[in-house]
Amino acid sequence: MTGPGEKKTVDRREMLAGGVRAVCGAGFFALGLGMLGRQAETRAAQSLRPPGALAEADFLAACSRCGLCVRDCPWDTLRLAGIGDGAALGTPLFTARAVPCEMCQDIPCVVACPTGALDHRLTDIKQAKMGIAVLVGQETCLNFLGLRCDVCYRVCPLIDEAITLERSHNERTGKHARFIPTVHSDKCTGCGKCEKACVLEEAAIKVLPAELALGRLGGHYRLGWEEKRKHGESLLKDIIDLPDRGYGDGTATPYGGAERGANGAFKEFKP
């Protein structure tokens, strides 16, 4: 026989067990979702976010996957990620080689976004950073081979700012110039027009997410010449200026008296 008091303890114990089970279950479920979430943060390099998109982790905390940006893009550039698109399910993206961003002046995609996953502070499309174009195919790019293709350069909405042609010597022929398409990361918006237009079968110039496209100096790194410029003179005084070795006959040549330019380099180098 169980007395009334005893029954109560059993009830309470059962309730406690049930509660613990439920909390553990919910916790387990939450961890599973968390793992999925981490997985979803890895985005394929060719899946670019619309203009103004927050940094990926913040974007995934903000975007409701509503597709309003997709609907308001007049060029059908954007689409919502499906399975196998290498981005969190339902989030907006575009593939530059398929349909690039046309850099609309009024940025309708950003205006349409109700959550701010596309940052409404972006009002000048030239400030967008959807990615950075990189000329990865240096062995196949026609201009690198010494021909004049220039297509990526010509189509760039920010021609001569985001991308320029830099002349260099053609070592193969010995007498011609090469015009190397050169992207300037501070200006390139990552619109992907260049990648779309590249005449090769597989584009030699590709827009990559900025974190893939750019290197970054270590935080402690100081560039000596810039520090010197900021300081107005060399930071290290009274160092013994050992004679530098020149190329000539192998004897050391002192350069103490040579003339230097504004950046501190020798004006002429005469070994």
């Binding site: 439920a22 909390v23 279950g25 919910a26 916790g27 387990f28 479920f29 939450a30 961890l31 979702l33 968390g34 999925l36 979430g37 981490r38 979803a40 943060e41 982790a57 913040d58 995934l60 905390a61 903000a62 975007c63 409701s64 996957r65 509503c66 597709g67 309003l68 997709v70 609907r71 308001d72 689409r79 919502l80 499906g82 399975i83 196998g84 969190a88 399910l89 339902g90 349409a112 976004c113 109700p114 959550t115 701010g116 996953a117 409404h120």
Partner: protein, 283 residues
């Protein structure tokens, strides 16, 4: 069952079809009355709506949304505070026809067995999803949410994503009776919490006329909610079904041969006694 026993069911199916058509009119016919999905939408270019559960996940993930989304979620919450929280489930949600179909087939095939799940489990699923959003700083439930995945598949084209809806159908058919909407879905659970305070409710106004035929219990997707209102008079329960789990589907109103049920305000404590209704029957 009487001929009139289909009114609310038909109205509900029309409503579900209406919402699907509303969202599809743009992409299919170029009639852009509504843009977006149930996650966030814009009606006629002026009315923004946002799913409150998605907004809550976003807030927990420490993103402060634009005013549009905040306003949109407030409008949705206000709307369902009027018409009943889980009215979303039975009148709007694109998965409801799927689970209703599974249930219908289950009954037709006479499938009785299945796993028993506590209907409270959905609250824990909800808690888990919200905890994950807060802990991992992401819209955790939106990674797997079958409701929004299905709606997106509908509006934007789904491909493989339709398997999610198929999975829910199979689960409800073969594994658990009313398994998804009635036991697991945290979206329903969230709207159920709104429903705890919502104005429009179903009331067993003529509960004295109930002759225990159990028809309402047979059709109700959440039969537990009926008992206090229908049979709890002695224990002091009013006739209004106050449980947030009631989906305001109106199916009980349809099927009751004694016309016990009707829509009412949650504050409407009145009851029709048999004597009032049918004078000749006063015992």
């Amino acid at each position: 069952m009487r001929a009139a026993g289909w009114k609310w069911l038909i109205a509900r199916r029309l409503s579900q079809a209406f919402f699907v058509a509303l969202f599809l009119a743009g992409p299919l016919a170029g009639l852009w009355v509504v843009e977006g999905t149930l996650a966030s939408s814009l009606t006629l270019g002026v009315l923004p709506l946002t799913d409150p559960l998605i907004l809550l996940q976003s807030l927990l993930a420490r993103h402060w949304p634009e005013a549009t989304a905040l306003l949109g979620a407030a409008i949705v919450v206000a709307g369902y505070l009027l018409v009943g929280g889980r009215a979303y489930c039975s009148w709007v949600c694109p998965l409801n026809p799927v689970t209703d179909a599974a249930h219908w087939l289950r009954e037709k095939l006479g499938l009785r067995e299945g796993v028993t799940i506590s209907p409270r489990l959905r609250l824990w699923v909800l808690a888990g999803a919200l905890a994950a959003s807060a802990l991992f700083g992401t819209l955790a439930w939106e990674l797997v949410n079958p409701v929004t995945i299905t709606h997106r598949a509908l509006v934007f084209g789904g491909g493989l994503m339709w398997t999610v809806a198929v999975g829910i159908f199979v689960f409800d058919l073969a594994i658990a009776r009313r398994g998804w909407c009635g036991h697991l879905c945290p979206v329903g659970a969230a709207y159920g919490l709104i429903g705890k305070g919502s104005l429009l409710r179903v009331s067993a106004v003529r509960r004295e006329a109930c002759d225990d035929c159990m028809d309402c219990y047979a059709v109700c997707p959440e039969p537990r909610v009926l008992t206090p209102a229908l049979r709890g008079k002695a224990k002091g329960f009013g006739p209004v079904i106050l449980s947030g789990d009631c989906t305001n589907c109106g199916r009980c109103i349809d099927v009751c041969p004694q016309d016990v049920f009707g829509f009412a305000s949650r504050f409407d404590k009145r009851e029709q006694t048999i004597g009032q209704q049918q004078g000749e029957y006063v015992p």
